[in-house]
């Protein structure tokens, strides 16, 4: 795929251009924001720079309005749709969380069933709390050595569809946080044959749209909607994201759904960052992500030379539960050196000034993207070699399990809003949880509202806490108590 395959002129960046024009004409602001191009807040201006605060402006005719785009934002969305091969694209300013939620809320109503893998991001289950849809979980396969959950097998998806013929949609992670993909093309075919819609969480898959050595993207696979984290591998500002839709989706209705929860003061910093990043990816993405892929392959081979670590990759692919692997993901299994991933994560930060994306019980993930260079990769590899030399210990007795099969007793919405009581952690065994418990990142719930609390889950929570995982979700910030149904 080259530049010529686009229908529109991808050199354009309409929001960016409109802001540049706006800056030149020096409009006198008697509107919000009240800092008035930074004059009213000199400390903020000194910190962020004139350039930045000068374009922190409000919706107005020449700059369009995110709630009802008719000019430059609309053009930017059309360009984004063209670049990503979608029928329609929506600029999102509430993070990919808002894109995922809008996607789910667009297709589900109260009582509708939606088929999804249990290792979804919390934003998916949040959407179910909001709309009252019923999750039908497909238990992902688990790699017991690595302790990570994988993709969904075709056969399991087929079984779930057959058992729940009235479900409205199937949601697929493309890829998972660790870079693992299901057979998306085949799943889309099965889902459409059953008259359902296929949704994709592509929070970690922006680059799939711009490279030949990557797993298939949701739009190319024929999925109906996808949430794409431009701010992750795509290079836009944190909190900016894209929602893509295919030809079967009514765009006007999706816009209404987005406007239920999205701000009416969409940030032009975020929107222009999406516009400029889209242009960059359309024009140069193939080359950029090929470099990222090579860098990740290099890092993997160097890390595997150290010994003890397993920087896993394509060799895992089994064409089913691991249908494909995202080669830009640098996931490293650490348990063989006797350290939990979260311990390596902490040592990297505290001793070596290296911040990685996350560490879980058995693995770490270093996020490689558009901005990485080989110098920093050398530092990461050398630091890992040092950590092994200094801290390696006997791995016996370390917990490996990452995924615990949940028993869903109530819908997320029922459980979240039900009458509840707070109990000390260990006394919650056998009760129904009314809140989320997760390590963040990655933000995949260990417990979601409506799930039964088992001794294995409690062991896992305590182990993860003891190893230093940062746990979030419950009302009690120390996770010493949980809210359960009365």
């Amino acid at each position: 795929m080259g530049i010529s395959t686009f229908a529109l002129d991808q050199n354009r960046a309409p929001i960016h251009e409109a802001l540049e024009q706006f800056r030149r004409i020096r409009v006198v602001p008697f509107d919000v924001p009240g800092h008035k191009r930074g004059r009213g807040n000199p400390e903020l201006t000194a910190f962020l720079g004139h350039q930045c605060v000068g374009v922190d402006v409000n919706s107005m005719k020449p700059l369009d309005n995110l709630c009802h785009p008719v000019s430059v934002i609309r053009e930017a969305e059309q360009l984004a749709a063209d670049a990503f091969g979608a029928a329609q694209a929506f600029l999102m300013v509430g993070g990919t969380t808002s894109a995922v939620q809008s996607m789910v809320l667009s297709v589900c109503k109260r009582g509708d069933e939606i088929i999804l893998p249990r290792n979804v991001h919390r934003s998916v289950i949040n959407a179910l709390v909001l709309c009252g849809a019923v999750p039908v979980y497909i238990n992902p396969e688990v790699d017991t050595r690595l302790g990570i959950s994988l993709g969904m097998k075709r056969e399991q998806v087929a079984k779930a569809i057959a058992a729940h013929p009235r479900a409205v949609a199937v949601l697929v992670n493309n890829p998972t946080y660790y870079g693992i993909c299901s057979d998306l093309r085949e799943i889309v075919r099965m889902v459409h044959a059953a008259g359902m819609l296929c949704l994709a969480d592509e929070a970690h898959g922006t680059h799939f749209y711009f490279g030949k050595n990557f797993p298939v993207s949701a739009m190319a696979a024929g999925a109906d909607m996808s949430a794409v984290s431009m701010h992750k591998s795509g290079g836009s500002l944190t909190q900016s994201s894209l929602l893509l839709t295919g030809p079967n989706i009514h765009a006007g209705y999706v816009r209404q759904i987005i406007n239920l929860t999205q701000t009416t003061s969409g940030s032009y910093l975020l929107m222009s960052s999406l516009d400029i990043s889209r242009r960059n990816l359309a024009l140069r993405g193939m080359k950029i992500f090929e470099r990222v892929r090579m860098l990740a392959e290099y890092a993997r081979s160097e890390i595997n030379l150290i010994g003890g670590y397993d920087a896993f990759g394509q060799e895992l692919v089994d064409k089913d539960a691991i249908y494909a692997f995202d080669p830009t993901k640098l996931s490293i299994h650490t348990r063989e050196i006797g350290l939990a991933g979260i311990e390596v994560y902490d040592i990297l930060r505290d001793d070596y000034d290296i911040q990685i994306e996350f560490g879980d019980i058995g693995n770490i993930l270093a996020y490689l993207s558009i901005g990485d260079r080989v110098q920093e990769v050398e530092r990461l590899v050398s630091a890992l070699a040092e950590i092994r030399r200094r801290f390696q210990r006997d791995p016996r007795g370390m917990l490996s399990q990452e995924y615990i099969d949940p028993e869903v007793v109530a819908t997320p919405q029922e459980a979240f809003y039900a009458e509840k009581i707070s109990l000390p952690l260990r006394e919650t065994e056998g009760r129904i949880c009314s809140e989320f418990v997760m390590c963040y990142p990655p933000g995949i719930p260990i417990l979601a509202p409506g799930e039964k609390i088992t001794p294995e889950i409690l062991d896992y929570i305590e182990y993860a806490k003891a190893k230093g995982c940062s746990m979030t979700g419950p009302e009690d910030p120390n996770i010493e108590r949980l809210n359960v149904l009365q």
């Binding site: 150290i306 050398e378 530092r379 050398s382 630091a383 070699a385 040092e386 030399r389």
Partner: protein, 283 residues
């Protein structure tokens, strides 16, 4: 006509040298490389606009980074030099017959090319048969080494550019691993005078001191470096830089030097009070 080269030592201080002419200017994959001819300092090598060496005062740096460890550890035979593509450190090392092998790891091939062409007094011994040049990232090279070297000399440029990786704890840790049980690491440690430099110096000292059982700092006066005042780090698994100084043995080499003497050796480790306090803060 007046032609001047200026280097900012801080936002508010700069050093300027009058330039006769520019001899070389190229951009490599890593940095911009320039060689100037100047009336006062002779030829000058600058990387990304920072002076790396001048013909006039390079002897101070190269002698101090080489002869100090050589006078302490009598058995040095295998040496790793990281950075130093100009060849000055290698030139001093090749003066010792006892040294059997010198591995030089320089990230940027163009630096060596420029120095071979325009700084022959520095690059003159790069073709010595004991010298093996590797154009590679220093961090990567040293990851593969275990108990191999008697001496490692880290001749990096400043910690804010492409050499940043050579000021990290992972690098010093890998040096420790690459050294034999009685090995020594000497590194250029920056300047303690201006605040930003001082902070970087403290950070790297802290990292070295937490990696090696013996870690001391020594000083020299180098006119073209920031504040004219420069530090080196001496880190070692066994040898103490003053207690184990063997003046008789070193003087028996009969090396003619312009800066280093075994008397100065001891003095170089006696530091001003403000610097002692800075180091203690992080030890």
């Amino acid at each position: 006509m007046e032609l001047w080269f200026s280097e900012n030592h801080t936002e508010d201080v700069k050093l300027s040298l009058r330039v006769n002419r520019q001899l070389y200017s190229k951009r490599s994959d890593y940095q911009r490389i320039d060689v100037f001819d100047t009336p006062e300092f002779g030829r000058v090598l600058a990387l990304d606009g920072n002076i790396m060496l001048t013909e006039r005062d390079e002897f101070i740096y190269d002698e101090m980074i080489v002869h100090v460890p050589m006078a302490v550890h009598p058995g040095i035979a295998k040496v790793l030099v990281i950075g130093a593509g100009d060849g000055g450190v290698v030139r001093e090392l090749t003066r010792y017959e006892q040294i059997k092998r010198i591995d030089l790891v320089e990230m940027d091939e163009l630096v060596v090319e420029a120095c071979r062409q325009y700084l022959p007094d520095n690059a003159c011994r790069l073709d010595d048969e004991r010298v093996h040049i590797y154009f590679e990232n220093g961090l990567k090279f040293i990851r593969r080494c275990e108990e191999e070297y008697d001496l490692i000399i880290v001749d990096s440029n400043d910690p804010f550019g492409p050499s940043e990786g050579l000021f990290t704890r992972e690098f010093y840790g890998n040096c420790y691993k690459a050294l034999k049980k009685d090995g020594i690491m000497v590194n250029q440690q920056g300047s303690p005078f201006y605040a930003e430099d001082a902070h970087a110096m403290q950070r790297s000292h802290k990292r070295i001191a937490s990696t090696f059982p013996i870690s001391r700092v020594y000083q020299a006066h180098i006119p073209t470096y920031a504040a004219g005042y420069w530090l080196f780090g001496f880190a070692s698994k066994k040898f103490h830089p003053i207690d184990d100084l063997d003046s008789t043995a070193w003087n028996a080499h009969h090396l003619r030097t312009r800066y280093y003497t075994t008397r100065l050796h001891v003095g170089a480790f006696y530091l001003p009070a403000f610097l002692e306090r800075m180091l203690e803060e992080v030890e």
